[in-house]
Symmetry: C2
Subunit: 768 residues, 2 copies
């Protein structure tokens, strides 16, 4: 843990006291989003201290020209970056001729609250300006879930010790840059600026990708709750910015306020020539409803999300706050409404990493969305990859693969690979496995087989072809080996026979062959269509099978474990516990070669395989591998502790499971990795959900049946969660000695609890 | 081979006919240098076609800010680049109001000649301008060996079909950029511009490194050989450029000429405030001598170099031309006069790679300079590393090494590492071995032990400490392993137990321990001084010894060979001969992952070890290893064919040795690697020298005695070379059936020819 300033609370994230050192961290933690856009918790007013400004629009990206020291054949020319979008939140505040700037005045009673239950962010403080004026400020901001192009700000200023002339200067500004731009270029080209009355519209276009976005605002000025219905005294417009000015006089304890409606209309959703019109519609709708009604809608919309997605934890506020923060951020990032979107690793909270889609989506996020939303959402996420199959084939072709072999990108926006480190881009190929596994997992959980004949089979075939071609026949071993890969543990590069990669490669081929057969039997028309399209014949399938049947897995007889890679045992096997703590995190302390030759594991690797394929191994096997690898794991990836938490729980090691749970659920709140100011770790938050449902709850689907092995950490009195299983919602509530089930649905459901089958009738409490 | 337009000639490089496609290639091939500065064969006059302009000053560099995609701890912030220096050669030529530009007129009888015997470059052609004027042009250029700040151009224009007004517009221009600048920044800051009469001086300073350079010119105008003693009609000066204008009228077949003296005076050699004065001295001296005398001096100076360095080959013009081209370029690049300088991989012929010093210097260049110059030259090259020992210790410390462990940089100008690819910078650590080996080699060849107690021992200790710390104890093997390295074969990265690296690591420790003992015995005062300085005790030395004595070497019983690295046999061992030729060179056709998992070897790796340590292995061992590795070697490094040529010769495979010899000696002339336009491969040229002297000549030093095993490729009638062995020059001349020795010296010399000892008396022909 690296910080602990966030106050424990069941439903809110709360910070008290102003500390300039924490501003960037809180900007990440108090971020808001509504699936269509997002906003870091930047101040509306000017701030001359350190800040990381970030506004984001889902799906709008820019392919920045690649920057590398030494070019390698096959590198992509562009890196699709999450774009810092135009600013719609800005409101300069001038009080008695002095600009309000928290780094230049005395700040008291500073407080932030992100109310996750209701979906709003509030900031309040008192400031003593250099001119002696004391004011109290209270700002509420939210991004509407109902009208997802709309953001709302209610900015209240109350003079405390003297009358004050208060000028609100709201603006919209497309003159923004990405902090991580490779060449310090601007990504937005201003196109048009309009304003009239209280409304302004700045239209800009991304270079290259030509996304048009109209950034808009509408402002109303209030005194003591009464709309003054005034127009701006002044409007300044440049090619990419419009700023209004409203001045009012307030007596002590008067509340002067500006309510700003703002946001974006973008050409992904509207005719690009009618963006300002669309924005006017958004504004008109918001004006018609008014602030309170909009806030009411917001609360209702979040209540409806929580109704399904909430997990309760009794007796442990920090644990409760952690899981809700994770669920809240996942829903802020991606709601599953738009099949063109995906779940970026930082969501709408930072620029780092770029791209919107990593293997995180399939390996970590799909289970969460599958269980807490309509199954169409998970299907959309699968379809996203199906739609990008051609690009995956192109991507593989760049690396010399042929015949429709597909390699899905490590990082992407539109299916094209963006990343450019050879050891990742070209070698971290296990990502392909997770994409196939998600198809299997979707069918296992939803029972909806139709996706496979319709779309999934082609993806499975492209992936199987890749593995077949990527494996190398070793005459020495008379087996197939997979050389030169990076496994999930990115602290080893260019290794041979990474167990996880070899295992999932074999599985992908076996699974593809099974599905081809099954589709042939049950969906002959789809089978014929797909086989004709991909030109696959029996001879090729035999070749695949030969590779799968003769895949080599490195194994140590001495330790009784599969080896992470051929040479793992050559390392100096000093456990993490015996490592000087001053050397950690090693990725900040050590040079790369030292990390690579160390035994330290960034994130679950062999154990990731045991997570996916738990049912292929005995609990004794799991225990042996967990005991072997856990002591070398440094968990410097956000994706690591959740898997270890689940496995520790399975092994009945509840203290350890709980520690990992806290680490995954409060990774950002407590800033374990010392980097939260760069943004949140969104995708790993789905891992936190898994660590409760699959770890403590022991939820599994086996043979179309839900199984549970509920366990409780001793710190908790109980916990509950819901899952949408085959279009019925099952609520599971676990307390010491008993597990309660309630089913919202119409059909009875058989569940297996600790090996014993139980029938749950709809709307009837069943206690086991 | 990729091109064959260079005409065969024993002493000259000749091109006939103008082909715009060849301009950049010829700019490299016809480069001139004098050890202190260098110049690509750019045209003096304007040229609007594709050209790569390059002027270089030895030792003047710029630390360009590192550009990488993904930063790793330990990367250097800067990359010291070879700087494109101000232009002193430029002369715009205007003929009857039209600028002469070979890409805009008809060109006939174009011819270039680089006369290596005499050290000058000539270009001649006839041009029909768009205005119909036909002219014949003849330009001679050289960089004086005698006055190494001086370059000389004699530019003659003869109208052929009509009278012509000819304007010569010579200039000096500091407004130059590096093509490879990471951020498109300028590296030169203009400081001062002066001109008077026929002279001009532009002084500029490199940013950051603050090298000051005065670029100067003096011009004289001639008509039919007579100096017109005119002043420029016009002078244009800007902040970084001065251009004069001289106009004369010439009748058909009159020869109008400009003789331009130019060059640089730099703050490495002069008070920075007196650079223009120093330049005036250079000009005055040149004016006093005049063009013909300067050219005469040049011829004499090159004759003196050739007297010692020449290798003759009878009966094979292309082979003769190749070796002389190599010897010529080595001498153009580095003459051993200035101990601050070193031998950059592209010399003065291009920007690529940056830095001036690689392990190439120790592994390839020192033997050449040691045998063809005074032994002080080789000692200077060793001292260069001694002087940078502190930086090597800092470099190792950045990677976590302690206690004075030294890691010499992969690429450097001043001792600081410049390179920034983790797999090279952090892992291609075998470079340390070559630096220690060169100390051993120097002593073996020169018999001068004094370098070791004075300087070498500290270097050997720093290097031994590095290897001791870098090795990892493997409990699994109960031996020391070296994990995560890149060997000389850069087509494998991050491998374990690269045989070459492990072998030289062990050797470095053993050799350091031996020398410590020897110095203790014979130079007790030096021993005491060094031990006190480095704080080395017996306990530490025992630890070193333990690592050396228990070093692991991967070995295949089945094949009877040491393995290039632990996992070499897992590769798909398809020989180069069986590879589709359309796939080569693989570094231009394949993505990096494919190269890495292939068995293809970029340059001698295990065989490099057999080259250095030939006497540790039997000829049968060599044969076995050569037969195993040669078939997988693609020789895509310039440093590869020479080693294979030597070993093929040792094994009596003369056809193969000859093929490799041609490839190494004509690598650039015939552009085997399709990249000659980027510059020449200077350091590998010393390998060409070795392939004759050590390969065909079989020259070795064993127990203070020169041994020879002379062999002749069947294409040759004979060959001869000279070596300076322990301050006496031995000429060796080999013809079928006999080897002749002549000794220039005062002491008789015992040599061993094919195992039989022979005594050579001074100045007496000995035939064996």
């Amino acid at each position: 843990m690296n910080q602990d300033y966030i106050l424990p609370d069941n439903w809110s994230i709360i910070e008290e006291g102003f500390d300039a050192e924490r501003v960037e961290s809180s900007e990440s933690l108090f971020s808001i989003g509504n699936g269509a856009m997002g906003q870091r918790a930047n101040f509306e007013e000017s701030y001359s201290g350190h800040t990381f400004q970030g506004s984001y629009i889902a799906g709008v990206y820019y392919p920045d020209k690649t920057k590398v020291g030494w070019w390698k054949n096959g590198y992509p020319e562009y890196f699709a970056k999450v774009l810092n979008a135009p600013n719609w939140i800005g409101i300069d505040i001038i009080i008695n001729d002095e600009i309000l700037d928290l780094s230049k005045c005395e700040v008291k009673n500073f407080r932030r609250e992100l109310n996750m239950q209701e979906g709003w962010y509030n900031r309040s403080f008192e400031a003593i300006l250099q001119n002696g004026t004391e004011v109290s400020v209270n700002v509420t901001r939210f991004l509407s879930l109902v009208s997802d192009e709309l953001g709302v700000i209610n900015y209240e200023v109350k003079p405390l010790n003297r009358a004050a002339q208060i000028t609100f200067k709201p603006y919209v500004d497309a003159g923004v840059k990405n902090v991580d731009a490779n060449w310090e270029e601007k990504f937005w080209e201003p196109l048009d600026v309009q304003h009239s009355g209280n409304e302004a519209f700045v239209t800009a276009r991304t270079y290259k990708t030509h996304f048009n976005a109209c950034t808009f605002m509408h402002n109303s000025i209030f005194l003591n709750g009464k709309d003054l219905e005034i127009l701006p005294a002044n409007a300044e417009a440049s090619e990419d910015k419009v700023q209004f000015s409203y001045t009012i006089e307030a007596n002590p304890n008067d509340t002067a306020a500006i309510i700003k409606f703002g946001g974006y209309t973008v050409s992904m959703n509207h005719d690009k020539d009618k963006l300002a019109d669309a924005a006017k519609n958004v504004i008109d709708d918001a004006k018609a409803k008014g602030y309170e009604a909009l806030l009411g809608e917001q609360k209702a919309a979040w209540a409806s999300i929580w109704e399904m997605a909430d997990i309760t934890i009794e007796g442990d506020v920090k644990a409760q706050q952690g899981i809700r923060f994770n669920i809240f951020q996942l829903n802020q990032t991606y709601l599953g409404k738009d099949p063109r979107l995906n779940i970026g690793p930082k969501g709408f909270t930072g620029e780092k990493y770029g791209g919107s889609t990593y293997w995180d989506t399939e390996a970590y996020c799909i289970p969460f969305y599958m269980a807490t939303k309509d199954q169409q959402v998970a299907r959309n996420l699968l379809t996203y990859r199906y739609n990008q199959l051609d690009k995956a084939i192109e991507n593989a072709a760049k690396l010399g693969f042929t015949n429709g072999a597909a390699l899905y990108p490590m990082v992407t926006m539109n299916g094209e690979e963006c990343h450019n480190e050879w050891e990742i881009t070209f070698e971290e190929i296990h990502r392909n496995g997770a994409i196939a596994f998600a198809i299997y997992n979707y069918y296992r959980f939803t029972g909806d087989y139709s996706y496979i004949p319709e779309k999934g089979l082609e993806v499975l075939i492209g992936i199987a072809r890749f593995w077949h071609q990527r494996a190398t026949y070793s005459t020495n071993r008379d087996q197939y080996v997979i050389l030169g890969v990076t496994g999930p543990n990115e602290y080893e590069n260019n290794v041979n026979n990474n167990f996880y990669t070899n295992y999932i490669a074999k599985w992908c081929i076996d699974y593809a062959l099974e599905q081809i057969e099954k589709v042939q039997e049950n969906y002959p028309a789809d089978h014929a269509r797909v086989m004709a399209a991909v030109q696959l014949d029996a001879a090729e399938m035999l070749q695949w099978k030969n590779v799968a049947d003769n895949m080599y897995f490195p194994y140590s007889e001495k330790h009784g474990v599969y080896l992470q890679q051929d040479n793992f045992l050559d390392k100096e096997l000093v456990k993490v516990a015996d490592l000087d703590p001053s050397q950690r995190p090693i990725n900040q302390k050590w040079s790369w070669d030292r990390i690579l030759r160390s035994p330290y594991i960034k994130q679950a690797d062999v154990l990731q395989g045991f997570y996916f394929f738990e049912d292929h191994f005995s609990k004794e096997d799991l225990e042996k591998h967990f005991d072997f690898y856990e002591p070398f794991t440094v968990h410097e990836s956000s994706l690591s502790p959740c898997v270890h938490s689940i496995q520790a729980a399975v092994l009945g090691r509840m203290e350890q499971a709980y520690t990992f749970y806290l680490r995954t659920s409060r990774l950002d709140l407590d800033d374990y990795n010392k980097e939260v100011k760069e943004g949140l770790h969104i995708t790993s938050m789905a891992g936190t959900w898994m660590s409760i449902v699959e770890g403590f709850g022991g939820m599994r689907v086996k043979n179309d049946t839900l199984h549970f092995e509920p366990r409780i950490p001793q710190q908790w009195k109980g916990y509950s969660f819901k899952i949408n299983f085959r279009n019925q919602v099952l609520k599971v509530s676990v307390h010491a000695g008993e597990t309660n089930f309630t089913l919202e649905g119409e059909r009875e459901l058989a569940v297996v609890v600790n090996g014993k089958e139980v029938t749950v009738e709809p709307n009837t409490l069943v206690t086991v």
